[in-house]
Amino acid sequence: MSWTWIAAAAAACFALKLLGLLVPQRTLEHPAVSLTAEAVPVALLAALIAVQTFTAEQQIALDARVAGIAVAALCIWRKAPFLVTVVAAAAVTALLRWAGAAG
């Protein structure tokens, strides 16, 4: 990834923070704006999870990653700490790949 886009992303994110501290409050008060703003992170994260778990080379693919995310969901449901969740998902995926390669 080029430094250009990294710098652009950093500048844009800083601008958003500063803008919030500067704009008059009324500008963002419309419920349509605030409701959408709350839903955007959910949509983006859901999309990232789906793409990373169920597609490979832009084609739909079911493999060891599906088991990994299932284990992560289980950990989150059981209120496991963040690091435990992430490590468990990685470990299950890695083990299945290793077993597949060995088998």
């Binding site: 501290l21 994260l45 969740t85």
Partner: protein, 279 residues
């Protein structure tokens, strides 16, 4: 940064969520800030390792931590890269996730009463954690102390953790052999989970997953995530939203400002002041 109901939960800071009646001394505020900083460190380690495995250099990984400084934005950027996005779409994803800071800023402005020279550092230290710790304090002095203490501690912890994660990650020959691609999805799921208590968010989650996977074979890499982001607009069609759009504007700060309670009085998971993580 990495958001989280979970962050506050794991460090057990009920004091930070009791709202305006709370009187907390500085030592207690600092202790809370340190607890949150340690929890944020966990996200930082994963981000650092994932960033180098998705093709960023250690310098680029750390540049983002120092200057972009937004946990979920950074994780999303490296996640998009790992999924094959170009630099443009990866950056766009990160910026879209950083958009909620705009709303935090609006909510914090009256709380902090910032003057000239404080604006730039205050803007830079803005995160889910610092916003949540400052909002709902009984007086301005407490709010300001909570903001700067949390902002400073979390910034330091995040940068140290991402550096450690990047250095450890760069020792790995084959990230896939360690299941790091699944680790990244697991991190996103942990970030978004606290928000799935609300029905509208569950609907958006399912829609976005479907759209992203559905359009993947049809469009270039990176675009599925951005297109799926548009499904967020579907919340405007829910009955609750339509009722809200018909009536008067909501309380100052907008719905995106971190508050202990929703307008309808429902508490979030764990009753923490934060809305997320992911965000």
């Amino acid at each position: 940064m990495s958001e989280s109901a979970e962050t506050a939960e794991s460090v057990g800071t009920p004091e930070t969520t009791r709202g305006p009646a709370t009187r907390l001394g500085r030592p207690a505020l600092l202790r809370d800030a340190l607890g949150i900083g340690l929890a944020v460190g966990a996200y930082g380690l994963s981000y650092g390792a994932l960033a180098v495995s998705s093709g960023l250099t250690v310098a680029q990984t750390q540049f983002l931590s120092l200057l972009l400084y937004g946990g979920s934005s950074q994780l999303a950027l490296v996640g998009a890269l790992a999924a094959g996005s170009t630099g443009v779409t990866a950056s766009a994803t990160a910026v879209l996730l950083g958009a909620r800071n705009l709303f935090y800023g609006v909510g914090l402005r009256p709380v902090l009463g910032l003057r000239g020279r404080q604006l730039l550092p205050a803007a830079h230290l803005l995160s889910d954690e610092s916003a949540a710790m400052a909002i709902g304090r009984p007086d301005r002095a407490t709010a300001r102390y909570a903001y700067w203490a949390t902002g400073g501690v979390v910034f330091l912890c995040w940068n140290l953790a991402t550096l450690a994660g990047a250095l450890a990650g760069s020792l790995m020959a084959d990230p896939k052999a360690f299941g790091l691609d699944a680790a990244s999805s697991a991190a996103f799921l942990a970030l978004v989970a606290p928000r799935l208590g609300e029905r509208a968010n569950r609907m958006v989650f399912v829609l976005a997953c479907g759209v992203a996977v559905g359009v993947s074979p049809l469009v270039g890499a990176g675009l599925p995530v951005v297109l799926a982001g548009l499904t967020a607009l579907s919340v405007l069609l829910t009955p609750r939203a339509r009722a809200a759009l018909r009536t008067a504007p909501p309380a100052p700060g907008g719905a995106a400002a971190a508050r202990p309670e929703d307008p309808d009085g429902t508490r979030h998971d764990g009753g923490t002041a934060e809305k997320d993580g992911a965000a």
